[in-house]
């Protein structure tokens, strides 16, 4: 689909203003159909996440329930992650080159990594908040720090592989902790959370690696969208 990574480029190869004409030519290889699908996909997921967040926010305001808090935060951070995932592509394709191009890309990369980490950690906390030991593991600031640290490491090293590895490690840790603390081992809800994490990991892989899953990208996008829609329908059904 892309001859180079559609979204992120290693910091050593970041484009400068002098390279703008080259970038322009290169990104016309990303045809309109592909660009439209990418933007529609991101836009749809962001909209679904925003609705889920809004619907669950009232429940949290009333109840102060920790699980609901982390559940709504999950979709808040997923919305941010999908937004920062698509931003570089939009900027490149529309030939918008902000001043300080390198800084702009690095910042987006940092925010993408941060939002992704927080989304994963929020899912884990929503399911296992009751069973986590009291103290430092119950503090919001602990998880914010972990996400910021991971994002900073990823940005400084500038390696897509490091980014993928850190997110995969986080997802595996979340899966293990969730499985350990989960009461009903094979419930559909648990499987939904698992698929959400797995699809997100595949989305990251597609974002950072040009030809990864090239032929099945649209299938993944469709399945991801269906999953988010299923969650949205459940949320709407339960918040009437």
């Amino acid at each position: 689909m892309y001859t180079t990574s559609p979204h992120f480029i290693k910091t050593t190869n970041l484009p400068t203003k002098d390279m703008a004409p080259m970038m322009h030519a290169q990104h016309h290889m990303i045809n309109h159909a592909t660009f439209t699908i990418e933007v529609l996909y991101a836009g749809l997921i962001i909209a679904i996440c925003a609705i889920i967040y809004a619907k669950t926010r009232e429940l949290y305001t009333l109840s102060g329930h920790e699980g609901i808090k982390h559940f709504k935060n999950t979709f808040f951070y997923f919305a941010l992650a999908y937004l920062f995932r698509i931003t570089p592509l939009i900027l490149q394709t529309l030939d918008i080159y902000p001043r300080g191009l390198r800084i702009g890309y690095l910042t987006t990369y940092l925010l993408f990594a941060y939002a992704s980490s927080m989304a994963i950690l929020s899912i884990m906390r929503s399911v296992s908040h009751k069973k986590l030991p009291k103290g430092i593991l119950q503090l919001d600031s602990t998880y914010q720090l972990i996400a910021i640290l991971l994002a900073t490491i990823v940005m400084l090293l500038g390696s897509p592989l490091i980014f993928f590895t850190t997110q995969a490690s986080l997802i595996i840790a979340a899966f293990i902790i969730t499985k350990t603390h989960h009461n009903k081992k094979t419930s559909t809800t648990y499987i939904t959370y698992l698929l959400l994490l797995l699809f997100w990991l595949l989305n990251i892989a597609i974002t950072i690696t040009p030809r990864f899953l090239q032929t099945t990208t649209y299938t993944l996008y469709t399945l991801s969208t269906i999953l988010f829609i299923i969650i949205l329908v459940k949320v709407i059904g339960r918040t009437k």
Partner: protein
């Protein structure tokens, strides 16, 4: 043996008691009806006031508690909240 009540259920019980007493009840009967230890009762009362689900009124030196609009809404939405928590296993 009764299982331990979850936090949401305890809050619901306290708010329900206040509403059932014409939305005005003194601390001592509230403690008695809530079936909580005095320490836990004080903790919950503090939380309910901080979250603005109840308010404390003073009528000629006699303290009593009433529900706020938010407190009424909690009672209305309690089943929705617990249903949501159960559905998503939170």
């Amino acid at each position: 043996m009764n299982k331990k009540r979850e936090r949401l259920e305890v809050i619901n019980d306290i708010l329900f008691i206040i509403r059932e007493h014409d939305n005005s009840i003194k601390p001592t009967p509230l403690l008695r009806y809530s079936n909580l230890s005095s320490q836990r009762f004080s903790e919950y009362l503090k939380e309910l006031q901080e979250k603005k689900l109840i308010k404390e009124l003073d009528n000629k030196g006699r303290k009593h508690y009433t529900l706020t609009d938010k407190g009424f809404k909690y009672l209305e939405k309690y089943q929705v909240i617990t249903g949501f928590v159960d559905e998503f296993e939170l």
